[in-house]
């Protein structure tokens, strides 16, 4: 497959950059269209505190059956036009793909049953774990873990998974240490050099599976990179301006999936999806206030502003006062989407988007970096280059310029202890040469003997 190239944005004007609709919507086998005008809820769930072993598999299957029936009943009861169900496997269920496939079949068959009997449309997102990091240093392109991932992707795609997704981890082994040091220079190497190379290889393979099975290569998430930064910034461990820059610099890596066959909707926790949508016009999943069951964020409303599916990230099957948590999440997501779809129907989608944006964007740099006009400004910078490394480097500089400008204009208020960090991050970025080979050589020397194998990334 010849990789796609993106040299301009998919939109002529930011006014058209809205939720529920995009220039390149995705049509599923059952006729549901993601990005075709309606925003759909996307539900995800996990087991309560219990071990995931062969012994507990029968119990796990019962729990998953109970969960899927609960959320589908709720969706039916609330007259939902359609839902996306994501099954993000537990590591054990990817490592033993036959267990994951058994659970997949329970979920998928129940969804078919509700569609057939009750007319409830639903589509399935299958998200195996990226187990390659179980080897330390990670083995990225061969071995038992990779084979297990391929097996679960292929079998579930064959058996009716609509979307194939993953939170891939190429470069994470380097980035984990960089994050706690707010070491943007190393993160640019991890994302722009290692991560981008891995994405090309990984998504070429996933797209091939999708093509062979009639499923849809949907997209990835830099969860272990940008979201880890966000969560640590929420806890006061890292500067928010650092987390904001990390969000933007995750975008060029994400774009590699689309260049190599993914068509959306990209993964829910990838807030960098907003840049993807602006550049590629593909639909995106997102999560925010209704994912507080899984993690907190400063972008609860703005994340919804241009989403095409709206997710809860994940919630375990525990009982709350009203009912089980996944059913509670289902109801919350349905009402969020119902309101937005009604606004669209009444011709107020742009107003609704702007309310969602403006209620968050001036309170936190991580929200500011997701403002639609800022998203376009950063996306335009990304498409000026074709090399993922240069895109990543230039995105970092552009993001810092934008945050500096916003602080100077008093459009964005940041804590006193954040102020020095804009300058400190810029100093780090300015040390990076524009020549990728030179940068790789520098980083190879610095990271020698550390936790990654250059040959696994083809460098």
């Amino acid at each position: 497959m010849t990789p796609k190239q993106f040299t301009s944005l998919a939109y002529d004007t930011v006014d058209d950059f809205l939720y529920g609709v995009c220039p390149n919507p995705v049509t599923c086998k059952n006729g549901m269209v993601i990005g075709g005008g309606i925003i759909y809820p996307e539900i995800n769930f996990t087991l309560p505190a219990m071990e995931a072993t062969e012994t507990t598999l029968p119990k796990a299957k019962d729990i998953y059956k109970e969960i899927i029936e609960g959320v589908l009943d709720k969706a039916l009861h609330l007259h939902t036009p359609g839902i996306v169900v994501e099954f993000e496997t537990l590591p054990q269920y990817t490592e033993h793909p036959e267990w994951g496939i058994e659970i997949f079949k329970i979920l998928r068959s129940t969804m078919y049953e509700y569609e057939e009997k009750h007319g409830l449309k639903s589509v399935f997102r299958m998200t195996p774990n990226d187990l390659r990091e179980m080897n330390r240093p990670p083995i990225m392109r061969s071995g038992a873990y990779w084979e297990s991932m391929l097996k679960i992707f292929t079998e579930t795609a064959r058996e009716g998974a609509d979307f194939l997704s993953i939170e891939s981890t190429g470069g994470k082994e380097i980035n984990d240490e960089a994050i706690v040091n707010a070491d943007l220079r190393t993160s640019i190497f991890a994302l722009g050099c290692l991560g981008a190379r891995d994405m090309k290889w990984l998504w070429s393979n996933i797209s091939k599976i999708a093509e062979e099975t009639g499923s849809i290569a949907a997209g990835d998430s830099a969860c272990g990179f940008a979201n880890t930064s966000m969560v640590l910034a929420e806890q006061g461990f890292l500067p928010k301006v650092y987390a904001a820059v990390m969000r933007a610099v995750a975008a060029p890596r994400a774009l590699v999936a689309i260049e190599n066959g993914a068509v959306g909707p990209s993964k829910d926790c990838a807030y960098e999806n907003v840049y993807l949508k602006a550049i590629t016009g593909t639909p995106i999943a997102l999560e925010g206030k209704s994912a507080a069951c899984a993690h907190f964020s400063p972008i609860g409303n703005i994340a919804l502003s241009v989403a095409d599916t709206w997710s809860n990230e994940s919630v375990q099957q525990v009982k709350l006062l009203s009912g089980f948590a996944p059913v509670v999440s289902m109801e919350q997501l349905i009402y969020d989407c119902r309101l937005l779809n009604k606004a669209t129907e009444k011709g107020h989608a742009r107003l609704m988007r702007d309310l969602l944006v403006e209620s968050d964007c001036y309170l936190d740099p991580q929200a500011y970096i997701m403002k639609p006009d800022v998203v376009f400004e950063i996306s335009e910078e990304i498409v000026k280059e074709q090399s993922p490394f240069l895109r990543t480097l230039h995105t970092a500089i552009k993001a810092l310029d934008i945050l500096d400008r916003a602080v100077e204009n008093k459009e964005l208020i940041i804590d006193e202890r954040e102020e020095n960090w804009l300058e400190m991050l810029r100093e780090q970025v300015e040390e990076i040469p524009e020549d990728e080979e030179e940068f790789i050589s520098e980083m190879k020397d610095e990271l020698s003997g550390k936790r990654y194998l250059p040959e696994e990334y083809g460098i």
Partner: protein
């Protein structure tokens, strides 16, 4: 010897300056215990307070911790002749089946910053490896981390392994991680639970100081 200068160098994370000042202090025959307690550990206490008061971030604290470690490394060979004993030893790891390491790394770094000797045995650690390492290094504390609801039960397995090998009472077992709660700690008979990295380090230091005094 002006401990204020050394303190400032630690707080700013200036490794080279710390090394130079500590070497100079040794040349001037400043007692090793004073260098350690007043020059290295005390300023890290200030750094910890600044972090708790939301004045600085983890990367700044880590810079200080690295500077402190550089100073400690110079005087460490002189500890035994100066009658200095380490505050205590911790073995830390993420339990079997769980690959998350950032939270665990933060705890380890903060414990080191508090002057504890820390052995980080990594992620996805088999139950018996915790026992083996704790026995090998004569640990005081074993710290266990899990981030998933489905790996949290493995914490209990580690505690059972300590019981099975008849060494449970030798160690104080601390647990933590996103899904972990005090109720869970009580249920599996862990000795303590802390909710974040800073409180874990603080608790460990307090526990070990009390243990030493008793």
């Amino acid at each position: 010897m002006d401990f204020e200068v050394l303190s400032a160098a630690i707080q700013k994370g200036k490794v080279k300056d710390v090394k130079s000042i500590v070497n100079q202090a040794l040349e001037e025959n400043v007692p090793v215990r004073d260098i350690l307690e007043q020059g290295l550990i005390a300023p890290m206490g200030i750094v910890g307070e600044n972090f708790s008061a939301n004045k600085i971030f983890v990367p700044e604290m880590l810079m200080s911790a690295r500077a402190m470690s550089a100073g400690v490394k110079i005087i460490e060979p002189l500890f035994s002749e100066s009658g200095i004993e380490p505050i205590g030893t911790v073995v830390i790891g993420t339990v079997k089946g769980d690959l998350h390491d950032i939270g665990k790394n933060l705890v380890a770094m903060m414990m080191r910053g508090a002057g504890l000797t820390v052995y980080d045995i990594g992620i996805d650690v088999p139950d018996e490896k915790f026992v083996e390492k704790a026995e090998e290094v004569h640990a005081d504390i074993v710290a266990l981390s899990a981030l998933l609801t489905t790996t949290m039960p493995a914490i209990s397995d580690v505690i059972k392994e300590f019981e099975r090998q008849g060494v449970r009472d030798k160690y104080h077992i601390m647990i933590g991680g996103a899904p972990v709660t005090q109720a869970f700690a009580d249920e599996i008979h862990a000795d303590s639970y802390t909710s974040d990295a800073a409180s874990a380090a603080e608790y460990a230091k307090e526990y070990l100081t009390k243990k030493k005094a008793s």
